[in-house]
């Protein structure tokens, strides 16, 4: 039985999905669902009936683009058949710069070193005492500190006259303060760490201080030394304070007064003269400008 004739007749009923006449094959960026057609535009047709020509051209290119899209591997999802798109080839600029990696907190460093992984826990936990599900943390949670208990047993070693409710409130306050201190410490260390990165970027060297706290201490000490010498007499006549910081690493070297080598002395004196008077007889003062300035002042 010859089925090909029937197939042909069936095919003739529908319009074709292939597109001829494209000398240069289209380029596709399927990640962005884009087709680039480099074929030259038919100017005559464009002039004659612009919109029709543009529509037919777009239809052809859309057909080719869809033929490509339908060739992609597909998966069936709840939303229907989805085509897996490749990554886009056309580079589009971002709207914001790349995020800077945040410096790790103390806990993160420790967890990384030990290999502790954060596993997601369920919000609701079964409470054996009441026999119902309660949140693990927060409002009406199971680890509520118990300050709302209607009765608190006096623990073994404590003073029987002590107010246990107050003791529990104080303990909670202490925990909150500790947490706050730790958060502050983390923020300080992060600030110093990011500053450290900037410095090393500028200098191009690695810092040899791992402790952010001692870095900050060094900074403060530097500031103290600078402020000591910012008096009118550069800190020379200040009274020495007991236990004050001494500037380290400052040594003054003096050349001997009389040397056998007189050329060095000559070179030193000539450099001073150059700086005062000017090299090769040039003037350090721009005479023309100076004249103008005095004229304008008058």
């Amino acid at each position: 039985m010859d089925v090909s004739g029937v197939l042909e007749a069936h095919k003739q009923k529908f319009k074709s999905v292939s597109v001829e006449g494209k000398v240069i094959p289209l380029e596709y960026d399927l990640g962005l669902l884009t087709a680039y057609d480099q074929n030259p535009i038919d100017e005559a047709l464009l002039k004659k009936n612009k919109d029709e020509y543009l529509q037919s051209l777009s239809r052809d290119n859309a057909q080719l683009l869809f033929n490509e899209i339908f060739q992609l591997p597909t998966i069936s999802d709840d939303n229907g058949v989805m085509a897996m798109l490749p990554t886009p080839t056309t580079l589009l600029p971002r709207e914001k710069p790349l995020p800077k990696p945040k410096p790790e907190t103390r806990w993160e460093k420790f967890a990384k070193a030990k290999g502790i992984v954060n596993r997601k826990k369920e919000r609701m936990v079964f409470d054996d005492n009441t026999g119902e599900y309660k949140p693990r943390w927060g409002y009406k949670g199971i680890n509520d500190d118990g300050s709302k208990d209607w009765i608190i047993e006096v623990p073994a070693g404590s003073n029987p006259m002590e107010d246990q409710y107050e003791a529990r409130r104080d303990a909670k306050k202490e925990r909150i303060d500790k947490n706050d201190k730790r958060r502050q410490r983390n923020m300080e260390e992060a600030a110093v760490a990011s500053k450290m990165d900037q410095k090393t970027v500028n200098k191009g060297e690695r810092p040899n201080m791992d402790n952010a706290r001692s870095m900050k201490r060094k900074e403060i000490e530097n500031q103290i030394l600078i402020s000591k010498s910012s008096t009118a007499s550069v800190g020379k006549f200040d009274e020495a304070i007991k236990g004050d910081l001494k500037p380290k690493g400052i040594k003054r070297k003096f050349e001997p007064n009389v040397t056998a080598d007189l050329s060095k002395e000559k070179a030193g004196n000539m450099s001073i003269l150059d700086r005062v008077v000017g090299k090769n007889g040039e003037d350090l003062v721009n005479v023309r400008k100076a004249i103008k300035a005095t004229k304008s002042r008058k």
């Binding site: 095919k11 990554t87 600029p93």
Partner: protein, 315 residues
């Protein structure tokens, strides 16, 4: 200048976190602004482009004294306030009639911008045809040979893609491809200047064909604009380079040590560490042990025999 906001509740904190720099970015928001004087064509064009860009678009309905090519500090303020990085400014003047200025920001600073003037525009409402739903991802096509050559064309192509491509996804529903934006470049003018560009928007209708692939028919939806290029400010090369940087997490990962051989089978390589063959723990086979105990026994018995003989000799 904008004051830096310190969050006082969780909702504000979430919003600020959303506005931070991220590895995978949000969809860019666009602001549509009217200049000090606009015409009907410009208003219609802005309205249509706004509808295509919804919901990631802000429409400023009031007129603003804004001249982007002279002073772009306004744009920086708007960008920071609305967390938007794309702008379309519509103006009309005798010198530059029916002008749209497309601008892009990087880190709330101007990246690049370009001006197009609309020669002929047909708004969406003039096409009595069904429109696509709001927020769908369009297909694009750029027809003509100029799109890679001339800087005007390159920037316009980049702008259109940036505006309307939505979110970069790794899969798309085949039924959800509803409309296509087609931009065609006309011939160059006789002076060698860039010619007109024709922007058309069509809805896609899939028809049955005899084969698996569907037959595509297009129905014009609008907007339809014939434009010519105006002024342009290109991005500074170092800022442009910085804006194109891809974070390490999003770079395609290379699979190492896996190859396909001639037959098409996948072959992998496993690297073992250095092995000290003297210290490998193997199975113990008793029969292969060194015979130290039995040789000793023989030697001892031999000695004993000697002694007996000696004593015999002595006697």
């Amino acid at each position: 200048m904008l004051r830096t906001i310190t969050p006082r509740n969780a909702r504000v904190k979430r919003v600020l976190k959303n506005r931070e720099a991220k590895t995978e970015e949000n969809i860019k928001t666009a602001i549509f602004i009217r200049g000090s004087q606009t015409s009907q064509i410009v208003n219609d064009a802005l309205a249509d482009l706004y509808m295509l860009k919804k919901p990631h678009a802000v429409n400023f309905t009031k007129k603003n004294q804004i001249h982007p090519f002279e002073d772009h500090s306004n744009l920086q303020f708007f960008s920071q306030k609305n967390d938007a990085s794309l702008f379309v400014i519509g103006t009309h003047s005798k010198k530059r009639p029916n002008t749209l200025t497309f601008a892009r920001m990087f880190d709330h600073q101007l990246l690049d911008m370009m001006e197009v003037s609309i020669e002929k525009g047909t708004p969406m409402k003039d096409f009595k045809t069904p429109k696509s739903a709001i927020g769908m991802k369009p297909c694009f096509m750029f027809n003509g040979d100029m799109w890679d050559q001339n800087p005007h064309y390159i920037m316009f192509k980049s702008m259109i893609l940036d505006f309307y491509h939505g979110q970069t996804v790794d899969k798309v529903a085949l039924a959800g491809l509803e409309y296509v934006i087609s931009v065609t470049s006309g011939p160059m003018t006789s002076e060698g200047k860039p010619g007109k560009i024709y922007l058309r928007t069509y809805t896609i209708v899939l028809k049955r064909s005899g084969v698996k692939l569907p037959r595509i028919e297009l129905v014009e939806m609008g907007p339809s604009m014939d434009m010519t290029f105006g002024r342009m400010t290109e991005a500074k090369p170092d800022v442009w380079k910085q804006s194109l940087r891809v974070p390490k997490e999003l770079k395609p990962k290379k699979k190492k040590n896996i190859t396909k051989d001639v037959m098409g089978d996948t072959v992998g390589r496993i690297h073992m560490g250095r092995q000290d063959f003297d210290k490998i723990q193997t199975r113990k086979m008793k029969g292969l042990k060194k015979r130290t105990a039995s040789t000793e026994e023989e030697g001892e018995s031999g000695d004993k025999k000697q002694r007996v003989d000696d004593s015999d000799d002595e006697e």
